[in-house]
Amino acid sequence: MDVLLTDEQEMIRETARSFLEGECSPQLVRAMEADPLGYPPELWRKAAELGWQGLSLPEAYGGSGMPLVYLGLVLQEVGRAVAPLPLHSTAVAALTIAEAGSKAQCEAILPGVVSGDTILTWAFTEDDPRLRPEAVTMSAVQDGDGYVLSGRKMFVDDFAAADKCLVVCRTAPARGGSGGLSLLIVDTKAEGISHNPLITTAKDKQSEVVFDRVRVPAADLIGRAGEAWPVVERMLDRAAALLCAQMLGAARKDAEMAFDYAKMREAFGQPIGAFQSIQHMCSDMVIWIDGGELLTYEALWRMDEGLPHGVEVSQAKAFCNEKCLASARNAQIIHGGIGFMMELDLHLWYRRIAAWGMRLGTTYEHRARVAAALIDYPGEVVLGQPVPVAGALPEPERRVA
C-alpha cells in the first residue's frame, strides 16, 4: 500500500508534461478545433517517437508493455495540455485488439499503431446513449465469407483521422441482455461508409457514422461471433477510466490557472486570492481533483492487477463527471467576466471538461452500477473490502428478494 507515484511514474509524467508544454500551445489547440482532421500529424509522430501509442501494448508487437497506470499518466498530461491527439481513441481500440484479437490481427495492426502510422477508433453508441448492450442494434448479417454491416453509430471519436474502427454490432438478433454482440475491425474507408462531423461543445472530432451494407471479411471479427460483450465491457471500462485520467489532467490545469489568476488579479485593494471566499473555492477544487485522481488510479491499478474493477471505474467516472466540472465552473467564477471571453484560453479546458463528463457513462448510470453492486446482492458491505459483485452497467439479476 503506497498510493503515491513512484519515481519512475513521476518521471513519465514530467517527461510528458514538458514535451507538451513545448509542443502544444493553446494556439495549436485552437487551430485544430477548426481543422477537419483535428490533429497535427507532426505532433502525433513525435508522440510515437516518445512511445506513447505503444506504451501499454505488448512488447511482442513493438509496444513497451507498461501497466495501464502509465498510459493513464500520459493521458492525464494530454488532458492537461488539452492536446488535440487521437490518443485516447487509438489506445482504447488497440488495447482491445491486444486483449482479444487473434495473433494475425495483432500483427497486422498493432505495430502500425506503435509507430504512429495507424490511428484507431471504436464505435458503440447509437440512438440510445446508455452504455448497455441493449443499446446496440446495428446488425452484421453473415454473407459468404464475411459480414454485411448496416446501421448508424454516434459520437465516434476521430473517425476522419482513423484508419480502422472497432464496431460493436449484432451478429444475431438481440437475445436480450448481452447476447449476440460481436466486435468487427472495420476499415474506415470501406465502401458504404459515410460520416457526418458533429458540432460539439469541445469542438473535438466526433462523428455520426453511417454504415450502408458495408462488407467486412470474417477474418476481421474479434473473438467469437455473438460473444463480444465481456470484451466490449472491458473496453468501455478502460475507455471510461482513461477518460477520467484525461479529464483530471485538464481539470488540474484549469484549476491552476484560476489559482494563478487569484494571486495576480487585484480587487478591493487585495489580490482576490486573499479573500477566503476565493480561497475556500480553491481548496475545494484541489480536494475534488485529488479525490478523483485517487479513485481513477485505483481503478487503473486494479485493471493492471487483473482484479475486478467495474465498480471502481464507475466510482471514478461518476465522481469525476461532477467534481471536475464543479472545479472548472469555480475556475470560471474566479475569473469573472474575462473567463467568459473567447480570447482567454480558459474555455479550451472548460468546454472539454464539460463534454467529457457527458461521455462514457453519465453520473447517474455509473452510480446506478455502484448501487446495484452495493444493494442487490446479499451480505454486508464493508468499505475497503470487495463488494459482493462488480456488476455490468445493465441492472444485474436481483438476488435479494
Binding site: 503515491l4 487569484a262 476565493i278 479513485l295 486494479r302 466510482q315 465522481f319 458491505v381
Partner: protein, 414 residues
C-alpha cells in the same frame, strides 16, 4: 503506486478479526461503555476497567499496540500499514486502540530522547493519556491568539490562564498544553508546548456539557464527546524539562503534531461507518420499496463513492507518513472532506428514516440503537474540533496552493 495489501498484511487482518471475535467480549464492551459513562460523567479512579485492562494485556502480548513505533520506545518497530490494519479492525467494534489524538506522534516528532523513552511506552499502554489544552474562550479557531501565560522562573515555568474544550481532562493523567512564553514576539513565535501531569497543583477542571450528553450513544458512534471541560491554571509550576520541542517553538510542534495525530484509522472509520450502516440498512429493511427507490439508490451510491475518497485520502496520508515525507496540505484536505462527508451521510439516512431518525438510544422503537439520531447531534462536531473545516480550507489554500494572506489595512495617517 500500489493500492493493495501484502499477503502478510491480509493475514494479519484475518488474525485480528478472529481475535476480536473471540476476545472483544460483552464484558470488554461493558468496560468500554463504563469508560464512556465516566467520560460523560464525573470520572473515577480507574477509567479502564478490569476486562479492558486484560484485553490490553493480550494486545500487548501479541505486539499489536504501537506497531509502527520503534522498539526502544515500547513499540514493535513494524510498518505503519500493519498498525493501521489493527487499528481499523478495532475501530469497527468501537474500540480506539490507536495513538491518534494521543500526543504520541508529536512527541516522536519533537520530543527529547528522555521524553520519548518516558512517554511513548506509557502512551501505548494507556498508562498515560493526554488532554489537549489548546484553545481558550476568546480565541476559538484563532489559536495563535491564546493568552495562557507560562512565565519563566529559573529552570521552571509558572502557568496561569484558562483552556476550553479540554476533552477528557477529568480522566487524563497528563495535559498537552500550549501557552505563551514570550509575549514580546509575534503571536505565533512566542508559543510553547508543555507536557505534564494533571495532578500538578493549581489545576482545576470543570465540566462543559455538549448536546450529545444524554442518553449515551452506542459504541463508536459519537463524533464529539458528550462531556468536555474548561481547565484553569493558577500558578502551576512546571520544570523546563516539560517543554516539548523547545521554548517558543510551540506553533510548529502543534501544527505538525495535529497533522500527524489525524492520520490513521480513528477519524477515517468515524467518517465512513454510517455509510456501511446505511447500505446495510437499505438492503435489509423490511420496509417495502427502499432498496428499489431510484432516488435512494442514487444517493447511496453518491455517498459510497465519497466514502471511498475518505478511504483513499487516508491511504494517501499513510503513504506520506510511511515515506517519511511532510504534509503540505494533504492532512488538511482529508480533514475537510471526511467530516463533511460524514455529515452528508448522516443527514441523508435520517431523510430515509423520516421521523424514526429522531429516536435516541433508549427510546422505544429506536433504529439501530439510535446511532443515526446520535450522529445528527454530533456528526458536524468532527468538522469543528481538532482544526475546523474552515481553518482547514484556509490551510489548503495557503500552504497547499500558495494563495496570499490578506493585506492589513494601512494605519490611518495622522
Amino acid at each position: 503506486m500500489n493500492f493493495g495489501y501484502t499477503p502478510e498484511q491480509e493475514a494479519l487482518r484475518r488474525e485480528v478479526n478472529a481475535f476480536i471475535a473471540e476476545h472483544v467480549t460483552p464484558e470488554v464492551l461493558h468496560d468500554k461503555e463504563a469508560q464512556d459513562d465516566q467520560m460523560h460523567g464525573s470520572g473515577v479512579a480507574d477509567p479502564f476497567g478490569p476486562n479492558m485492562r486484560e484485553l490490553y494485556g493480550k494486545l500487548q502480548a501479541r505486539g499489536w499496540l504501537g506497531i509502527a513505533y520503534p522498539k526502544e520506545y515500547g513499540g514493535q518497530g513494524g510498518d505503519r500499514i500493519s498498525q493501521y490494519i489493527v487499528e481499523e479492525a478495532f475501530m469497527r467494534v468501537g474500540l480506539n486502540i490507536s495513538l491518534s489524538g494521543s500526543g504520541a506522534p508529536a512527541i516522536m516528532a519533537a520530543g527529547t530522547e528522555e521524553q520519548k523513552r518516558y512517554y511513548i511506552p506509557r502512551l501505548i499502554s494507556r498508562e498515560i493519556t493526554f488532554a489537549l489544552g489548546f484553545t481558550e474562550p476568546h480565541a476559538g479557531a484563532d489559536l495563535a491568539n491564546i493568552r495562557c501565560r507560562a512565565t519563566r522562573d529559573g529552570d521552571h515555568f509558572v502557568i496561569n490562564g484558562q483552556k476550553i474544550y479540554t476533552t477528557s481532562g477529568h480522566l487524563s493523567s497528563h495535559i498537552y498544553l500550549m501557552a505563551r512564553t514570550d509575549p514580546s514576539l509575534p503571536k505565533r513565535e512566542g508559543l510553547s508546548i508543555f507536557i505534564f501531569p494533571m495532578d500538578t497543583p493549581g489545576i482545576t477542571v470543570r465540566p462543559l456539557w455538549s448536546i450529545q450528553n444524554n442518553p449515551r450513544a452506542p459504541l463508536g458512534t459519537t463524533y464529539g464527546e458528550a462531556r468536555t471541560n474548561e481547565t484553569f491554571f493558577d500558578n502551576v509550576r512546571v520544570h523546563e524539562s516539560t517543554l516539548l520541542g523547545g521554548e517558543n517553538k510551540g506553533w510548529k510542534v502543534a501544527a505538525d503534531g495535529l497533522n500527524l495525530d489525524r492520520v490513521g484509522a480513528f477519524r477515517y472509520v468515524m467518517s465512513i461507518r454510517r455509510d456501511e450502516d446505511m447500505v446495510n440498512w437499505v438492503k435489509t429493511t423490511e420496509l417495502e420499496g427502499y432498496a428499489d427507490n431510484p432516488a435512494i439508490r442514487d444517493k447511496v451510491a453518491e455517498l459510497w463513492i465519497e466514502a471511498q475518497v475518505c478511504r483513499l485520502m487516508t491511504m494517501r496520508s499513510m503513504s506520506i507518513v510511511q515515506r517519511g515525507r511532510d504534509f503540505t496540505y494533504e492532512g488538511s484536505a482529508e480533514k475537510v472532506w471526511a467530516p463533511e462527508h460524514g455529515v452528508r451521510t448522516t443527514e441523508a439516512i435520517t431523510q430515509m428514516l423520516g421521523p424514526y431518525g429522531q429516536l435516541l438510544r433508549g427510546s422505544p422503537h429506536a433504529v439501530e440503537e439510535g446511532v443515526f439520531a446520535h450522529n445528527v447531534l454530533g456528526a458536524f462536531q468532527s468538522g469543528v474540533n481538532h482544526g475546523g473545516v474552515t481553518i482547514m480550507r484556509d490551510q489548503v489554500a495557503r500552504r497547499g496552493l500558495g494563495l496570499p494572506a490578506m493585506r492589513r489595512p494601512k494605519a490611518a495617517a495622522n
